[in-house]
Structures are given as C-alpha cells and as structure tokens.
Amino acid sequence: MFGQYIMDSSVATRMTNPAFISVARGQCSYYSSGILHPQKILCSFDAPSSPFCTTSLHSVPNNEERSIKRERRKPAWISLLLTASLLFGSFPNFNGIDEHLFDNKALALEVVQTNNKNTADDTVDIFKSTSKLSDQLFKAMSNRESSSSSMDSLQNIPTNKKQRYWDSMEHGTQEDILSANEKLVDHAVATVSTMYYDSSGGFNFDSQEFYKKWKQFRQSFHVSSSEKKNNENDFELLVDINGLASRDDVVKTLKSIVSSLNDRYSKYLTREELRMELEGGDNGFLGLGALVDVSPSSSEYETQALPTLMENKDFDKAISRPIQGGVSSFIQQLTLPTSSKSDPTILSTSQVSNLPVITAIIPDTSAERVGLVVGDRIVQVGEYKFTGLTNKQQVQKALDHFSAKDYFGKADVTIAKEVDSLQSADVDNKYVFENGMYYPKPKRQKSPENIVLGYKISHVNIPTTLTATLDAKNEQKSNPSVVGGDNIVHYQLLSPNDSIFQHSNTVGYIRLTRFSRSSTTGFISAINSLEEAGAQSYIIDVRNNYGGVIQEAMMTASSLLRDPHSVLCYTLNARGGFKPQENQEYISDPLYNGYLLSSEAKSVARDQVRKEHPDYLEDGGWVSPTSYASLRELRMTRGIKPAHAASIEDLENAAMLDKKDMDISQLAEIMSRKSQKKVVVLINEGTGESHICLYMFILHIAHIILCYTLHILSIGC
C-alpha cells in the first residue's frame, strides 16, 4: 500500500528482476495497487496467498479519504497484536514481544480479549489494518524523540522480571528453573518469529512455521521424554540434549536457535557477553586494528551438520548451486594457470577457504595505513601457519591465541589479497559499441562480476596500535592550515600546497569513521568551519566506516539534499512493510541545520516543509509521509510543486523574457544562486560492515571519560 505512489517506469523494470521479486514475496500487497499492476508477477509468485496479499484487495480507498481515516483509527499496534495472534493461533507470550512498543498494558489486555471473541467476519477488518504494521514499526524506527531519551534498554524488561528470573535460577527448585528457562526460550522464539527479517524474502524462514514447531515441541516436552523421540521437529535438535535444566543448557539452546537462522548478523548475547561488548576489548587481531574472523566458507561444513529450519529445500536447489560443487568449481575453472604448484606466491580460492578473513578495519589504525582491506586472508603470523588447520574450531582457537590487548612492537604477518579477473572491474559498461553505434547492453550479457581468481601472498610488517601511537607522538606532524575534529569526525582543508596532487581549488576533506549522534553534529560543525575557511568543494571519506545508527546516517545525508521529498532509502521489514524514508522526516529534527553547501539560504528546505507540513516541525506531530513519495504524484493529483520546479521556472522565465538579447550574466547569476558545491564520497570494501560499531562507540566514550578524569587530575590526555 505504501509503495503505490512510488510506481514509475523504473520501478516496473525492477519488478521484472527476479531477485527483487524474491524479496517482494509476502509484500505483494504493497505493490498491487500500483499504476502498472505488477501484482500479477508478484502474487502468482506467492503461491499460498498470505494474509498480506489479501490486504490490498480489501483496502484500496482513495488517497485523501484514507489518510484521514488512518488518523482516526485505532493505534496501529493493535493490529500488530491481532495479526500476531492470528498467525500463531494463540498469543505467543504476550509480555515478551516488544514491550517497548506497547506501553499501555491495559489497552493491550483489551486487545487480547477482543482477540478471543474473534469471528470470521472480523478477520477481514483485521487484514485491512495490517497495512499499518509497517507504519508502526517504522514509526518506532524514526521516532527520534524517544531515542534521544537515552533509556536503558535493559530496563525495558522490568527489573523485577529480571530479578525473578535470576531468583529462580539461584534459589528455585528444579521445576522453577525449568519453567523460567522455558519462558526465556519462548520469549526468544516469539521475538524471532515476529521480528526476524529474512533477506531471501521468506524462502529460508517461515515465521508461522517457526513458532508452530516450537509450540508443538513445548507440548511434547511436557508429556514425556520417550514419546518426543518419535516426533519430527527441528527443535529436538536445537534444544540442548540435557533439556533446559540448567543455565548453561538454556544458553546453548538459545545460541543454536539463533544460529539456525543462518544469519551472520543475528546472535544471542548473554548478560556477561553484553557487558563485555560494552566494556570494549582489545585492538583486534594482534592489536593491529583489524578484526579477524573465521572464514565463512570454512564454517559451512559446520552448519551443514547443524539442523537448519530451512523450509523450501527446492528453492535452495533451484537458485543456488551446491556450495562446494557449483560456484566454487566454476571459479576454479577460471583460476590462474600459474596457481598453487608453480608459483608459491599465489594461492587458489580453495586453498584459502579455511584461512581466517579480515572482517573489519578500525579507521586510523596501523592496519589501515599498511593497506589491509576487508576480505584479506591471514596466511601466517611469524612462524605460525594457518594453512594446516582444517576446521572452524581449530582456526578459532588459533585466533583466540593471537587476540590480545597489549601487543607491542611490530608484527610480521603474511596476508593473501584477492586477485580479481579483468572483467570484474567495478564500473560496468551499460552500452555496447557495435556498428558505429552505442546500444544499451542486454541484461543477460552482464558479465559475472568480482570473480576472484586467486590470492596473492604478501608480507607486511605492521606496528601494533600501541607502538604506532607512541611513534606518532615523536613524529613531527605536518600542519595543514585548517584541521580539527575528534575520533569520530575529523576534517582538514586541502589547499593546493597541502597535497602532492595538483589542484587549483581549496577542498574540504571530512572523514566520518562511524555514524552516531555525535557524528551528525560533528559533521555539521566540520562543514561550518571548512566553509569559513573557504572550501570550494568537498571530499567526504567513509572508507572503513563500519556503520552505526541508520537514522544518523540519514540525518547527515539530509543536510545535503534540498528537496524535502527526495527518498533517502527504502526499508523492507519482516511484516512486509515497504516504506520510503524521506528527507523531510529528518528536516524536522532539531539537530538538522538546514540545507548545507549551497548558495541558497540554509532554511529553504525547512521552509518548504513548514509550508506543506507545519505539523512536522511540532513536537510529536509525526505523521506517516508515505503518501507524498512520488513527485509525479504530487504534481498530477495534488498540484504541489516540488522544490526543483521553482528553479526551473526561474531559468525558463529568464530565457523566455529576454529571448532577443538573452542576458547571459543574469542567467549565470540565477544558475549560480541555485548551485550546490561539488561533493565526492570515498568508499571502499570496509564501508558498511557493522560488526563492531557498538563496541567501538563505547571505546570512544571510555576514552572521553578517561581523558576527563585525567583532566581533573590535570595530567592531560
């Protein structure tokens, strides 16, 4: 439903892309009222018509009516609850799911009661309101007001509940422990089944099935231990062999349930692990500033042994060639002829498959300086070789051995870097030159990209972080004219003298190492001081930026975009919600500083929002902006002119009025008035891996606190 306005021809062409369709399964309702009726493709793909599919059939009211209706309806979370209950037959641990979404318990109870009275007629209405599910989730997501209130999320679970769990762990009888653990697992399973987003679009994970199986298992769990052996249930294998009798067992169980999702980003953290993460750790592998992990391809052997909850085995067969045979053998055919035997400096892809791989590089560390990138493999450290290790546990053990807090000196590391095939150049040509003409390239001819031919071995001597910081203090630093910032955002002015490259303009360079609340403010103040220093264009460096809070990234981006209606990204959630995140939602934030890096007034974008949506700028006046997604829609049906229109008209007027003797200087003035400063963004392989963002964020805070303490003691930092 929310996607209906974004349908234009470019979207329609994407619809024919099978990969897109695969994700759109279960979300068909959101496209089905689109202009080009792509629902035929989508819904036929989605064989068992899901409740989400029926949604759109029932509710396609016209725009304005609906938007009025929406505000008067019951809060959207009610529909979330109702759908959840419909999906699972009974209500899965009501207290568990998303307590932070449902603050009002009394209301929630009322819903449960209504749920019990449900008749078949009611279901239609419920389906109608499911369309607001995504609204609710993303309302929560974009609810910056509450995010600023820095609440302890551990307190979302009332302390007494936490207390109760640990009380029964410590002082309770065997039965108390069992039931407390069972409740915990139930909570986890319910959260996973309602919230987990499967990037295959529902092929690898079926939330209804997932909870149903758990429910079955839970029932059989109580009957007797002999009977449940006959029951074919994946949870038999996931739940630890000793049942849930002790704390260790339940931790093992939870870990294996989460790992059965086959998602490398999802994991269960115990109380201790969570605390460890907050306290931060070492500087990664050998203290070099690189995070090294067991290779994902070597872990495949392990996951095959583990039970998975994959439902559609046929899909797997169809779409992915078998892991060992298919893709890798295809790659091996293309392997460099000089591989393995003849040239000792080249390793084949199969040879490196068990070597540990670099998953993240911490910005401004020695690992970055010597040019380690995400995806490099570690072959050897000093005399210790990783090549002999065969399974995941051995590699992990070796890695643990090398991961320590305070290595000092220089490490002699042998690494293997990817060698790409020639056609894997990242810039693909969209046009083919033939018979003296350029033709658009047919899609099928698209050459497979990023084929790794092999790995080239090289030796590096890397000073550890401790050594590097000491060296840096002794070094004489070059002092550019304007420099500033902190660990998170730092900037400097590149005047023609500062760079070894020749350029005529002064260029502002801003490096963003992560996205957090202080990075947005840091970015804005960096731009302000560089503007003052007279920067004419900008380079924004997000290399090795491992991510962070998504709203902050969109905040930062929105400060460079004028049109309040331009879309920053689209989000797809587990319930089939598809929502454009628009610029204007971020303009309403008090942190937002206007439309930067332009010759126009800073307030121009904000003024337009104030004109169109005064409610945006009021506290708590958040409404879903989804019906304003398409500029075309705005022009055609509502007569609202997008921000660009004004400038285009100005240009046209200037050109039309003075056609006889076109005043070029006037035209140039209009153009320059509307001009924006040029910006280039630097990216690399490390851009976007968010493995460790959290712990680094904490490290930074720890650093500040440390500095502050030292400052009080007047030692300096």
């Binding site: 997501m141 690898n204 500062d498 990216i683 851009t687 968010s690």
Partner: protein, 116 residues
C-alpha cells in the same frame, strides 16, 4: 553509565555508511570514488531478554533510492554492495597525511573535472 549510553531505545544498527553514500549518490548529489562497498544492507536491533541478555536480530533490509538491493538476496549469486563511479583501490593503504592518499588525489581530479 556506559550501559545507559549503549542501550538507547530504538537504536537500529545498520551499515549506515552505505545508506549515507547511496542516498546521496542516487539523488544525484555526489560522485562516488573508491572500490565496491561491503554490501551488508541489513538493519539490526538488540532486543532485551528477561535474563538480562540481548537478542540481536536482523529486522529489516533497506534498498537504495533507485531500488537496488545492497545485500545479497538469499543464496543467489547476485551483486551486492555499492559500486563507485570512479574506481580506485585502497589496497595501498590510507596514509596519515591525507594529501598523500592516492584516492584523495583521484577524488580531487573528479572535483576538478566537474568544475568544482
């Protein structure tokens, strides 16, 4: 104190740098220089558990403004990551003195050619 810093409500972790780069690029605001990005494209949230632990789950995916996937879809061998307009390896390392960085030099060339 540290815990309260971390545990802000509704914190959604993602490969935020990719969101940043793609949202500006697809709206025609910036040119991208460098090498192809990691391609995560998923959003995580840590749910608190009754035992005081946390359950970190992937809860959503994002598409770029031009409706491209950033993550790999399923097991399909499908392109992931954000592609640069002008390619430049960072395998030679990022020096402390930014003026000596090769990719910064390429970026300066791009700015120059745009008349910036």
């Amino acid at each position: 104190m540290l815990i309260s810093f971390y545990a802000t409500r509704y914190i959604y972790l993602a490969s935020a740098a990719e969101v940043f780069a793609s949202s500006l690029h697809d709206n025609g605001r910036v040119a991208l220089v460098g090498s192809k990005s990691f391609g995560k494209g998923l959003i995580q949230h840590t749910f608190p558990m009754p035992d005081g632990g946390g359950l970190r789950l992937t809860i959503a995916e994002y598409l770029t403004p031009s409706l491209q996937h950033v993550t790999r879809v399923g097991e399909a061998k499908y392109d992931s990551g954000i592609k640069p307009d002008v390619r430049c390896d960072s395998k030679q390392g990022i020096p402390q003195n930014i003026g000596a960085d090769l990719c910064v030099g390429v970026a300066l060339d791009v700015l120059e050619s745009q008349g910036g």
